[in-house]
Symmetry: C2
Subunit: 194 residues, 2 copies
DNA sequence: ATATTGAACGATTGGTTGATTGTTCAGAGC
DNA sequence: GCTCTGAACAATCAACCAATCGTTCAATAT
């Protein structure tokens, strides 16, 4: 990790703190610069602009959740059905709590997805790859009967879209969302069983 | 139909035309009054306000789609599985085309649902009742195995949310949406089969 | 008496100006 | 030569005012 990388990290950390606490719009580049003991202009040696800082923060959050989800793939004891269940509920709870902790994170995410639509799709793709693997494991183990795991993963993602960004689409409580997701899971689960 | 009712219809028709063409915000009460050869003040003998006119228009549209969906229940020849397929695709196509014909209808729908959240839920409930009946028919015929059709209807509605208001959530083409819905349908279909 | 009008009122919107903020870059510092 | 600064520029935002619009109601017409 070069000294340049360290500075980058510092900027990202300052951004994460301020964006989460005060929101993207209300955070100024001058403030971020002051946090990092540098001039505003110098920020542009590390990032093309304010949006790119937010993008990097969201990107990392996306990688982190994908990583957490990927942990479901580990171990050998559990069935693919259980893994699918974990996948769906972990996803719901992760985003629900993230959006609940700091209301302002929604703002940042919305701005980034509005300005860079492909960003959102990349995140979905990363998660879908894990889902795909779970399905493939299930096929391997004779639990699932699906011709094309990649395609089925896409379908499951479409069917659980309501639970991916809960607060954006509904005002339901986590309990209600979990009840619904459980029901949707049961249908899907039976729908792909061998 | 009294003369008062006829005037009400006239106002609704004028509203439908203007809201669809110019949008809710850009339509003034004065314009609606002029369309109906009356003064702005007189509109308030028929509706509590501008929003209520839009509400009535949306309400009727909702009733109409529910009616169309209910037509799926008729006849005896077709299987419940086919009816479920028709239900989901009819719903997707109806809203997709409605929103495509006049971009401005989205605006009106958004304003009404923002101001009267219960309105949206009533529409969902109306559709869900049809879905529930389809499921009950399937159970009756031994095609489906579901313990509680009402609950399962709720779950299916949650799983197909992405296809209910297509243009609000994604920018996918109708073809792509139909491909995805077909996949989701197949999983659900297998998931509730007896 | 009832139905209707249209001017009046208050809230909202649209447009304009000045201030703030994101971004650039010539030059200072090392 | 490379890093970094901070003043300068351009884009955006916020505050203001005027115009418009939704709504009301006293007056008018039927």
């Amino acid at each position: 990790m070069t000294v340049l990388d360290i500075t980058r990290e510092q900027i990202i950390e300052a951004g994460r703190a301020r964006f989460a606490h005060y929101g993207y719009a209300k955070t100024t580049m001058a403030e971020l610069a002051r946090d990092c003991d540098m001039s505003p202009g110098n920020l542009y040696r590390f990032f093309a602009g304010k949006l790119e800082i937010a993008e990097e923060i969201c990107h990392r959050a996306s990688l982190r959740t994908a990583d957490e989800l990927a942990s479901i793939l580990g171990g050998t004891a559990r069935s693919a059905t259980e893994r699918l269940h974990d996948f769906l509920f972990m996803d719901l709870r992760a985003t629900y709590h993230a959006l609940e902790k700091d209301e302002k994170i929604v703002e940042m995410a919305q701005i980034v997805t509005a300005q860079r639509p492909e960003f959102h799709n990349e995140g979905l793709l990363r998660e879908r790859e894990v889902l795909s693997k779970i399905l493939a494991m299930g096929v391997q183990a004779g639990e699932f009967l699906v011709a094309d795991p990649d395609m089925t993963a896409e379908m499951i993602q479409a069917a659980t879209m309501k639970f991916s960004y809960p607060q954006l689409f509904t005002r339901l409580s986590l309990e209600k969302l979990e009840r619904e997701l459980q029901g949707v899971y049961e249908i899907i689960s039976r729908g792909i069983k061998a």
